[in-house]
Symmetry: none
Subunit: 180 residues, 4 copies
DNA sequence: GATGAATGAGAATTCATTCAT
DNA sequence: TATGAATGAATTCTCATTCAT
């Protein structure tokens, strides 16, 4: 009478769809048809819709998965000896990855950012929070900045043309340092 | 034998379509159908397509018009006695207006930003350039920043959730000040 | 109380439209828009519709005009000393001209062939009839063939690919000669 | 691991669409909307486009199918004891069928005739070729005529008004016989 | 009479979603 | 479960025709 455990092949398909969708969305935007995602995943379109009942669901899942991996990176960086540079490393990473041919940012916008960031529900804010307090303790970053603000800033910078991003990131980082 | 002037009614309709499109795009994104734009303008859909032969043309026209008005504002601010605060005023204004329910930024992205900013063709870079050099002369803004970077930064900040924008703008402005 | 005579400029415009339409239709088929015909004629689209109240009317007028000129050629050939070759000359001419990049035949088909050929109303059948009886009297062409059949045959051959036409015309001419 | 066979229902629908399209095109020309074809086939318009991704594809498919059936008829006639009359039978049949209210010829013209007749790709030229050489051997048809010319002639005659066709066909056939 | 702007009914095509196999 | 065929609403764009200027 327990809930039946998902079959192994079903789980495998879910992952394949998710991975294919990420690739395709990054390369060509979230406006590619679901059919193309299915093709890239090597499954039928019915399978995509079985796992993700609407296209929005799929986009959001891709987004959450991306955030989850960011969180993992943050978790790893928390161990770092140099909390000051750890946070800059992480923020740069978010801005760069999220840029992905302009298309990631679309996904991030399409999905509901605030919901995805609800602290109680996601591990990213927690992990990034640790990075942040350590960096603040080390005097590397201003005290009046929050996790949500950091994420929003990085996503914003992600939308910028590739050639300008490094410069703009440097400017934003200057703004994030403790001010005189 | 002079080139025939456009008819008055045609000009009026062109303006109405442009205004309606701006409103609708800002309110609901550039993905609204051309039919809806026509309805909002109170003209037939054929009229929209007569003036703007593709949807992309229409989006771009709305975008250029918006830039033109920004340029006018910049021109006015150039006269200001306080060049230091003039540029912050202008940049805030761009970020706020461009925000417009997330939808402006879409338009800005859809159209080709770089092309639209080609100095020879647009007055915005020129006007903003004047604001910039004055502010730099007044020591209000760092010397190593360019017009293109400023515009890109403001459009980036425009994509941010409304409630976070003032804070993020402050941070970015701090980063734009001459650094110690 | 007499019907007002058409103004000179109106007549001139009618001719210009007709000539432009013929050119454009031959070059690109009768599916080109009326707007393009107007442009080619150097008049407004309203003028086209004033002279030819529907597109079908225009196509038919172009067709009739073409037939009229064929009739003129036939009239000229009737004077010829060699009635046997005169008819072959004329028929070849019709097949070639009507071919005009495949597009004339469209026009000929679109308009109502039978109506246009109603003997009482057109001069072509009369002129071609003269050519025919002379050629028959000279023993150059079979006696059991009619004007309508000749015209239909030539229009049919007009539809054939350019490179095949001379051969097919020769075959058809053989079939038109008095049979053993 | 064999290539998956097309589903039975898909094949059935493809056939229905093709049959409906043929009927509708013959009755009312290839300019009828795809929507009407779908209605006639009793399927949704999406189904038509799934099987034939553009309208041109559909027209061409109808055309090829028709050629295929002609080829079958030719194959059957090749068995005939009387090669002389077999070819006249076949040619008459092509001219009559292709006539179909003027509309077949449109289809034949719209699709690319030459390409469709490329010997290596179609069975019609081969089958008709057999008929031809046999008829030539029997002295029923002139030696200097080719398959391509025969096909072109029949399609040309197909465009002719129904009531004139038998007579014109007779004339053309006379031209095709060995000449004195 | 001439002009060309406005109109709106289609037309082809796409795509998220459903459902029979 | 997986598949992919079927669906049809929605979208962009065209063009014959009308009518105000």
């Amino acid at each position: 009478m327990t809930a039946r455990a998902p079959r192994a092949d079903a789980l495998r398909n879910r992952s394949r769809v998710l991975a294919a969708a990420e690739q395709v969305f990054v390369a060509r935007g979230t406006s590619v048809s679901t059919e193309e995602v299915a093709r890239a995943a090597g499954v039928g379109i019915g399978t995509v819709f079985r796992h993700f009942p609407t296209k929005a669901t799929l986009i959001e899942a891709v987004f959450r998965e991306r955030l989850r991996r960011f969180a993992e990176e943050a978790d790893r960086l928390v161990e770092s000896d140099d909390p000051g540079s750890a946070i800059w490393t992480f923020l740069s990473r978010v801005a760069e990855v999220a840029a992905g041919k302009q298309a990631w940012a679309d996904a991030f916008t399409a999905a509901d950012l605030h919901e995805a960031l609800t602290p109680a529900r996601e591990q990213l804010p927690r992990a990034l929070g640790s990075l942040l307090v350590r960096a603040q303790a080390a005097g590397a970053i201003r005290l009046d900045v929050t996790v949500a603000e950091l994420v929003a800033l990085m996503l914003a910078v992600a939308r910028v043309p590739d050639d300008l991003r490094p410069r703009l990131l440097a400017i934003v980082f200057d703004g994030l340092r403790p001010q005189p």
